[in-house]
């Protein structure tokens, strides 16, 4: 997979386009987002003024639940506890943090490296714990992406904004003045052209 298969900055101001290009590259590498964006097109006209940022995304794996990397079972007979046997230790730290936040440190025991005991009613909580989301790589990436686009890339004065965000694309139209319908249409058009390129 190539990084950034399309990267176009369109701007009547040639020097402006060049600097904008370098600042987008800097931001994406600062926030390690260059692998997340597949195709990217920016249209900027300082005279109007409008800034359109459209990108197709390539998000990583979906969210990870406890059942994906651990066995969740009833604890010792006659005790109110749930036993989690971790198979991939990679997520243990995040799991412990989540459990501490939810049940308090005094209710979590870790007798062994790979065993975590949660003192709670197993009948009530067992299923819920199996489905507990430990890591959300996609959401984290999207948060970083919003940080990059809204807080670093779009010129600061462009405070009137409209955005679309999904797991496959992101579109920002921003301006200093009220947004005109033709700019929004142009944003959609740019997004469509990126999609066509991808399907070609």
């Amino acid at each position: 997979m190539e990084q950034l298969e399309t990267f176009i900055v369109e701007c009547p101001d040639v020097t402006g386009a060049k600097t904008t290009r370098s600042l987008i590259l800097d931001t994406l590498s600062d926030l390690s987002l260059s692998r997340v964006i597949e195709r990217l097109k920016v249209y900027m006209d300082p005279v109007e003024p409008v800034f359109i940022f459209a990108a197709l995304l390539r998000l990583g794996s979906p969210s990870i639940k406890i059942k994906d990397f651990a066995k969740v079972d009833m604890g010792a007979l006659g005790k109110d506890e749930v036993k989690i046997e971790v198979e991939k230790e990679m997520f243990t730290i995040k799991l412990l943090n989540k459990l501490w936040a939810k049940y308090g440190k005094e209710n979590i025991e870790q007798p062994d490296r790979k065993v975590i005991i949660v003192k709670t009613d197993p009948i009530k909580d067992l299923d819920m714990l199996r489905e507990l989301v430990v890591e959300e790589p996609q959401q984290e990436v999207l948060d970083r992406l919003i940080d990059a686009i809204a807080l670093r890339i779009i010129p600061e004065g462009f405070r009137v904004r409209k955005h679309e965000l999904s797991t496959t694309h992101v579109l920002f139209v921003a301006s200093e003045d009220t947004l005109k319908p033709e700019w929004l249409a142009k944003g959609q058009e740019i997004l469509e052209s990126l999609r066509r390129e991808e399907n070609a």
Binding site: D13, G16, L23, D26, P46, P49, E156, G157
Partner: protein
């Protein structure tokens, strides 16, 4: 006439150079010792420069003219957001500091946008307390020109503007000078090309300050700012324990003293020079907009009728 000079050399025997400059009637403004190297910023009487040069050669050091020495520069960013900081703004401020200037960073409250940008009265007064204001603007020619039409309203000091496009100074309204190839850069400036741009900026600001010096020399101040600094250092003991960076900051025609105005202004006003005059006869002691510091502006000779 005193010339701003910078000496870079070994720490060994550098005190000989300090003594020479002081004996010649010059002033040592800053002394930074970094391991075995020393950097001296000083003002040297223009006629005695060859003598100082000979001494610095003898000590195997390097003596250069540092036109930014003894000036206080405001580097102004439209806001203090990620868009401008930490790169570029800090790089510019840091670079000018290395050249001998004292830089203060100012982030405006509502400085963004070409149509909506504003400068508050407080910001305007604060910037006016400096010798030069460097406005660090962005990428687009149209925005820089539109913004320059109104953002600098009320600023009386020279304005240096930076941005991405290569414009002529005449094209940027209200600017004293314009330096291109900057723009909104979100990485640390370290490539050779970028460093050359910074050098150019320092050169342009040096030129602007030289013009200010020429202007001041037409009606020289009654007392030289380094003299004010020296007298305050000798008369007010608290300045030694002051932890602010550069507790007495030199400006082109005055100094900023980082002590509370209410407590110290009378003491400073009554400092007596050996010539028999007091500070308040040769300078105005004013409250500064920066915290509760003191700003001292030397009176011109035309107003007092004498200079010491």
């Amino acid at each position: 006439m005193l010339e701003p000079m910078m000496y870079v050399g070994g720490a060994y025997k550098h005190s000989q150079l300090i003594e020479l400059v002081e004996d010649l009637g010059g002033y040592i403004l800053q002394k930074n010792i970094m391991q075995s190297e020393v950097v001296l910023l000083m003002l040297v009487p223009i006629n005695d420069i060859p003598m100082v040069e000979t001494k610095s050669k003898e000590l195997l050091g390097k003596l250069t003219r540092a036109p930014l020495t003894g000036s206080e520069i405001a580097t102004v960013a439209p806001t203090l957001a990620y868009h401008h900081l930490p790169h570029l703004d800090c790089d510019v401020a840091e670079f000018l500091r290395k050249q001998g200037a004292k830089t203060n960073m100012v982030g405006l409250a509502r400085g963004v946008g070409k149509r909506i940008c504003q400068l508050t009265a407080f910001e305007r007064d604060l910037i006016n307390e400096h010798d030069v204001a460097v406005f660090i603007l962005g990428n687009y020619e149209h925005c820089i020109i539109e913004k320059s039409k109104k953002l600098y309203e009320g600023i009386e000091i020279p304005i240096v503007v930076t941005g991405a496009p290569e414009l002529k100074t005449e094209d940027v309204p209200n600017a004293t000078a314009y330096v291109g190839s900057f723009g909104r850069i979100l990485h640390h400036l370290r490539h050779a090309e970028e460093l050359r741009t910074l050098d150019k900026l320092a050169q342009v600001i040096g030129k602007v300050l030289d013009d200010v010096r020429v202007e001041i020399a037409k009606d020289p101040p009654s007392v030289a700012p380094p003299r004010i600094k020296k007298e305050i250092e000798e008369n007010i003991a608290e300045i030694i324990d002051n932890l602010h960076p550069l507790p007495i900051t030199l400006q082109m025609n005055g100094v900023r003293v980082k002590l509370p105005y209410e407590e110290y202004h009378e003491q400073i006003e009554n400092i007596k020079f050996v010539e028999g005059v007091t500070m308040k006869e040769v300078a105005r002691v004013l409250p500064s907009k920066m915290r509760n510091f003191i700003l001292i502006k030397a009176l011109p000779k035309s107003e007092t009728g004498f200079s010491i």
